[in-house]
Amino acid sequence: MARGTERPLASPSSQNRERVLPVSPNIQIYSPQLTSVLSFTHRVTGVLLSLAAVGLVAWLIAGAVGPDAYAAVQGAISTWIGQIVLFVFTFAFFMHLCGGVRHLVWDTVHAFELRQVYLGGWLAVAASIVLTIITWVVAYS
């Protein structure tokens, strides 16, 4: 059986019919919409927060090792790169939190109308921005 030979879909040759099954359109075809962008954002922020969790453990281990290790980690966090990373993590946290609340609402079979889905999506984006700014303003004041 020839492998990977390109044949027109219209001629179902019994030889390699299953090799060239059509694939449904995916993200490379669709133009971005709020719904799909937020769905993808939820995954990306989830992965980012997994990395943040590694940082949390590093911070705790430094605390257990002693004051020098703790000061080294605190010093790394207080550099401008560390502050940017922490800011991105903060925003990722609130995006994932708001996105997660949206999912929990959907799990109760509510807010499935297109209007509500878009309203909830923009609310999640707005709330994440506001909560991130509030967090940083309160932390620095």
């Binding site: 705790l60 257990a64 002693g66 004051p67 799990d107 932390a139």
Partner: protein
């Protein structure tokens, strides 16, 4: 599909597919998500309250009785939720041996990080750090 396969399409399909064990994964993801809402908000609020504080303030904070309880609860729930979520992402984009290897790596990684964070928290809480001896 092998042409030599004499089984009917129905016989091939039975036993495959969803509706077997997906519900537990889905439910565990939701439960851990609900638990993480108060735990993460407590953690963020605590971090805000301790911005710029030194090592003595950090150890004083961890030694309050409720802090290790909430911190360890946060660590376990967080890494459980991370393992479940990462598994879904890996299953969607990776296949065959790569999928299996990455899921195992993610789950082992989350498991060991949860233990490491818990032990570190207990070491500070129970005062076995060198600074205050």
């Amino acid at each position: 599909m092998n042409r030599k396969d004499m089984r009917s399409p129905l016989a091939r399909a039975i036993g495959l597919g969803s509706a077997k064990s997906g519900v537990e994964h889905w439910w565990a993801e939701r439960l851990s998500a609900i638990a993480l809402i108060p735990l993460t908000l407590w953690f963020i609020a605590s971090i805000i309250a301790h911005t710029g504080s030194d090592y003595a303030a950090f150890t004083e904070w961890v030694r309050r009785p409720y802090v290790p309880i909430l911190m360890i609860a946060l660590l376990i729930t967080l890494f459980y939720h991370a393992a479940l979520g990462l598994q879904v992402i890996i299953e969607d984009y990776q296949h065959s041996w790569a999928k299996l290897a990455m899921i195992i790596a993610a789950q082992f990684g989350c498991f060991i990080l949860a233990i490491a964070g818990t032990v570190a928290t207990l070491m500070v809480a129970l005062g076995s750090d060198k600074a205050l001896q």
